[in-house]
Subunit: 169 residues, 2 copies
C-alpha cells in the first residue's frame, strides 16, 4: 500500500462523515504497530472510545510519555497492555538492531552513539514481556494511584485474546 | 468502556477469524492516540497492510525507536505522519504537564527529576508540527536514504485529510 491511496479512501469516508465526540477516556490501549493487530474489530473498540498507543512490540516503557498525557491531562484511569504472538520484536535483539543501524551508516560515529543509547525493548517471551510491562506500570510513580492495569496476549493465529494480568495500582 | 468488555467482543471476532498474513510493509503511519482517530476507515488501511504507530499527538520524535525497527528490521520505506485538528496536545504545554505531575506527587524529588527530563512534544500549530516532524525525519540519519516521508492533517470536524508534505529522503 502507498499513502497516495489514502486520498481516494478518505474522500469516500468523509462524504458520509458524522463528527464523533470523545465518548470514553478509558481504557488506554497499548499495543503493537504490527499490521495484523487491529484493536477496533479485535476488541470491540468504537471510534470515540478509549485511546490507542502503538509502537514496536506494544511497549509500555516506550509509551510512558503518552500514558502520562492520558492520565494527567485526559483523566484516563485504566491501561490495557497488549503484546501479540509472532511479534517481530521476538525475532531480533536490541544489540542486533544497533549493529544493523551502524553497518548501514559506516563511519558515522554520531549515529553509533545515538543508537547505542536507544533501547528497543526486544521481547524474549511474549507473556513474560506483558508481565514485565504491567510491573513497570504498577511500580512507576508517574502512573496514578487508583489505576487499573490489565495485561493481554493477542494470538495472530487464532484471533483470540488471553488476559494474563489484572492489577489495581 | 472498560477492558472487561474486550472478551465478549473478541469471542465474536475470533469465532469467524481468518488468519491474516502481513501483506504490505508500507506505509508506516504515525498518528495520535486520540479516540476520534481511526486510521482503517479514515485512510482505507486494511488488516495486514502497513504498520501503525500511535502516541500523544502523533509525534515522529517519540516514534523514532519504532521507525528504526520498521525500517531496519521490516524494510519499511514510506512513513506517513498524521497530526489532527483539536488535538489535546495543543491544549497544554510540556511545562504545564510537568507541574501537574509534580503537584500530584508532592515531596517526590525523584518524580520531579524524571518528569523534568521528559519532553511531551506539545503542539502549538498542527500544520507546523507536521512540518517539524517531517523535517525531523528528513534530517535524521537513522531514517534510511530513499525513504518517502509524507505529512498530513486529519480534520476531526470533517473527517477529511489534507496532505501538507511529501519529501524523498
Amino acid at each position: 500500500m502507498t499513502s497516495s491511496e489514502f486520498v481516494e479512501a478518505n474522500t469516500k469516508y468523509s462524504a458520509t462523515f458524522e463528527k464523533q465526540p470523545i465518548r470514553a477516556k478509558n481504557p488506554l490501549i497499548i499495543t503493537c504497530m504490527d499490521p495484523r493487530v487491529q484493536p477496533y474489530d479485535q476488541l470491540g473498540v468504537k471510534i470515540g472510545e478509549g485511546g490507542i498507543v502503538r509502537n514496536a512490540g506494544g511497549s509500555a516503557q516506550e509509551a510512558i510519555n503518552s500514558i502520562v498525557v492520558a492520565q494527567h491531562f485526559f483523566g484516563t484511569t485504566e491501561i490495557a497492555v497488549f503484546h501479540h504472538t509472532d511479534c517481530g520484536m521476538t525475532k531480533f535483539t536490541t544489540e542486533w538492531l544497533r549493529d544493523t543501524v551502524k553497518k548501514a551508516n559506516p563511519g558515522r560515529d554520531d549515529v553509533a552513539r545515538t543508537v547505542d543509547g536507544m533501547d528497543f525493548h526486544h521481547i524474549t517471551n511474549v507473556e513474560e514481556s506483558v508481565h514485565a510491562d504491567v510491573k513497570f506500570l504498577v511500580e512507576n510513580p508517574l502512573v496514578k494511584k487508583g489505576s487499573k492495569i490489565t495485561g493481554w496476549v493477542y494470538n495472530v493465529d487464532t484471533g483470540k485474546i488471553n488476559q494474563v494480568a489484572d492489577v489495581l495500582v
